[in-house]
């Protein structure tokens, strides 16, 4: 039984089918398509049954309603001249309106993200600040040991480590959790029609909340180990954060779709992120690589951390960090948008 019935194309769903003409519907075992009772074809039967029916409408005063009544009782014409279907928006249009509608429901995803945080630390007295304590202990213990190991001064090392680690948790958290953007909310996706982008916003916003809780550590560390801070330069943190957030939305959407379709991807992503942790200068100094340090900008995560860490520590930003970060943002956004536009309607089947 070929999937493409000869007939008029009825929208972009059909174009997808036409592109893969060899794909056939395989009948699963035990699947019966016998026509019921050997009677006339369902379509004709329906028409007969429909003509018997009269009334049943509450308000038939309007001519439009009366017109609908007529249509429902005769067979649906195939020409589309009487029964009107609106012009289907293009896939790109659907994806764009999904993204905009998702933003409009900010009250849903912000609240859900807050709820995620509450649930994660349910029952603990400290609540989400448990996260802060965990990070602080990690920074403290790593700081003292590695400062010794690398023979660097604690007052230089600890601020670098704390800012770097907190930013790393933010960026890598979005990548790791991005694998479950859609899978984690499959119950909702299969029951309610919601903009898909909403799930990515929720994820990124949740990670922003974690970042905010962790960030409490930074002023404390900078007070203990004072650095000359150029306050005006701190303004650059805003565009940097915006870029990282856009990246986070794009990457979590893209990864969320790929991981919903291919279930062996999340462990791969996990491994890659783990390797990236060691090749990104978070607990070691970029300067210790000497002239080879210039290759570090090829790691987008380094660029993302660098554009935020350097202003906070009063250090110069690597010359290409901004360029690479902007380029990567454009790349992930475009790739994610195209992928999203193409496969958005399949997500409900994948999860």
């Amino acid at each position: 039984m070929p999937l493409i019935e000869p007939g008029e194309p009825t929208g972009h769903q059909n174009r997808r089918r036409l592109r893969y003409p060899t794909r056939r519907w395989t009948r699963p075992e035990g699947y019966v398509i016998a026509r019921v009772g050997g009677g006339p074809e369902p379509r004709r039967r329906r028409a007969q049954a429909g003509t018997v029916e009269k009334g049943g409408y509450a308000g038939q005063t309007e001519s439009a309603v009366a017109g609908l009544t007529d249509l429902s009782s005769v067979s649906v014409p195939r020409t589309g001249s009487v029964v009107e279907f609106p012009e289907l928006p293009t896939r790109l249009g659907c994806a764009a309106s999904d993204i905009v509608e998702g933003l409009g429901r900010y009250w849903l995803w912000t609240r859900l993200a807050h709820q995620d945080m509450r649930l994660r630390y349910r029952g603990s007295i400290l609540g989400p600040f448990w996260q802060t304590i965990t990070t602080a202990i990690m920074i403290g213990s790593m700081g003292f040991i590695y400062a010794r190991l690398f023979h660097v001064e604690l007052e230089n090392y600890l601020p670098m480590l704390s800012v770097g680690l907190i930013l790393w948790q933010f960026t890598s958290g979005m990548i790791n959790e991005g694998c479950g953007t859609f899978e984690a909310v499959q119950g909702v996706i299969q029951q309610v029609k919601l903009p898909f982008s909403l799930h990515a916003y929720r994820l990124v916003y949740r990670n922003l909340l974690v970042l905010a809780h962790n960030f409490v550590i930074v002023p404390v560390v900078l007070l203990i180990f004072p650095h000359p801070i150029d306050w005006l330069r701190l303004l650059v943190l805003i565009p940097a954060l915006v870029l990282i957030v856009i990246n986070g939305i794009a990457v979590s959407t893209l990864l969320g779709m790929i991981c919903a379709r291919f279930r062996d991807v999340p462990p791969i992503v996990g491994s890659i992120v783990q390797v990236l942790f060691f090749v990104t200068p978070i607990f070691w100094l970029a300067s210790s690589l000497g002239p080879h340090g210039r290759w570090l900008v090829l790691n987008p995560l380094y660029c993302a951390i660098d554009v935020m860490r350097s202003p906070l520590l009063g250090q110069p930003t690597s010359p290409h960090s901004w360029t690479i970060l902007i380029a990567v943002t454009v790349l992930t956004s475009v790739a994610s948008f195209l992928f999203f536009a193409r496969f958005r309607s399949r997500i409900a089947f994948w999860v």
Binding site: Q13, L68, R261
Partner: protein, 266 residues
């Protein structure tokens, strides 16, 4: 409420891709595209189940449509298409009006939050701003008759209480189109009567109801039109009494061959 609400389907076909085992694997999929050999066979053999086949119908203001059919006939899938969850593989679907779907009692409910909190939460999933939802919460609570239970986490609720809560929230704003799966029939008689009165009120305001149920009594009581599905195809659509009669007849005729087909397949 929009003056004219309707659901319109033309030749809606829905293929369900069944992903399992190796078709879930990126590695296998990549190998399949590169080698095209024996290795690829697993990944390429994706099974599609045709859940709906050329479903066409149209219902308008004031219609209460019952979806009738055996298990696996495609009722829930059709409801999900109407609710906008699944996009048809082929054919066109068009609806006009605000849709409220009650496919599952627990959607959007956080088991650890109280009934009150969940009223707001589920309302937000329905697209209602929490501010508006707070104003509606009193009426919802009254309709559920759950009283002090609303201060308890919904984890402690019985199935019937969940049904009360979910139905009350989903119908707090008169929808143009209400889509319900059969779980509602698990409610007690008193609540069912109350729910029916509320739905009748909607229908008087020219709303549409689509209900999938195995309870033929409930269907005859609530609906005026019926749609009989069998293996994803529309067998008949018409006045509910006729369709129920056709269903009874169909089940008597179709059951024996179906069973043998399944038996041979197993």
């Amino acid at each position: 409420m929009s003056p004219v609400s309707f659901l319109r389907l033309r030749d809606v076909t829905l293929d369900f891709p069944i992903y399992q085992g190796s078709s879930r694997s990126l590695k296998k999929a990549l190998l399949a595209s590169s080698t095209r050999g024996n290795l690829g066979r697993d990944a390429a053999e994706r099974v599609n189940v045709r859940a709906l086949s050329e479903v066409s119908f149209e219902i308008g203001n004031g219609d209460r449509l019952a979806l009738i059919g055996a298990n696996g006939a495609g009722k829930t899938t059709l409801l999900k298409v109407l609710a906008g969850v699944y996009e048809p593989t082929q054919g066109r679907f068009f609806c006009s009006g605000r849709v409220s779907s009650l496919l599952d009692t627990s959607v959007g409910l956080n088991p650890d939050a109280t009934g009150w909190e969940n009223i707001i939460l589920r309302g937000m999933y329905m697209g209602i701003h929490p501010g508006e939802m707070r104003a509606l919460a009193g009426g919802i609570a009254e309709f559920t008759e759950l009283g002090d239970y609303l201060d308890m986490p919904v984890r402690t609720y019985s199935a019937g209480m969940m049904i009360r809560l979910a139905f009350s929230i989903s119908t707090c704003v008169p929808p143009d189109i209400l889509i319900m799966d059969e779980w509602l029939s698990a409610g007690d008689a008193q609540f069912l009567g109350k729910a029916q009165r509320r739905i009748e009120e909607f229908v008087r305001r020219s709303s549409i109801l689509v209900l999938a149920s195995h309870s033929l009594e409930l269907v005859e009581q609530w609906c005026n039109r019926g749609l009989l599905l069998h293996h994803g195809r529309v067998v008949t659509i018409g006045p509910v009494k006729e369709v129920v009669a056709a269903y009874r007849q169909l089940m008597d005729i179709a059951t024996p061959p179906d069973l043998t087909a399944i038996a041979t397949a197993v």
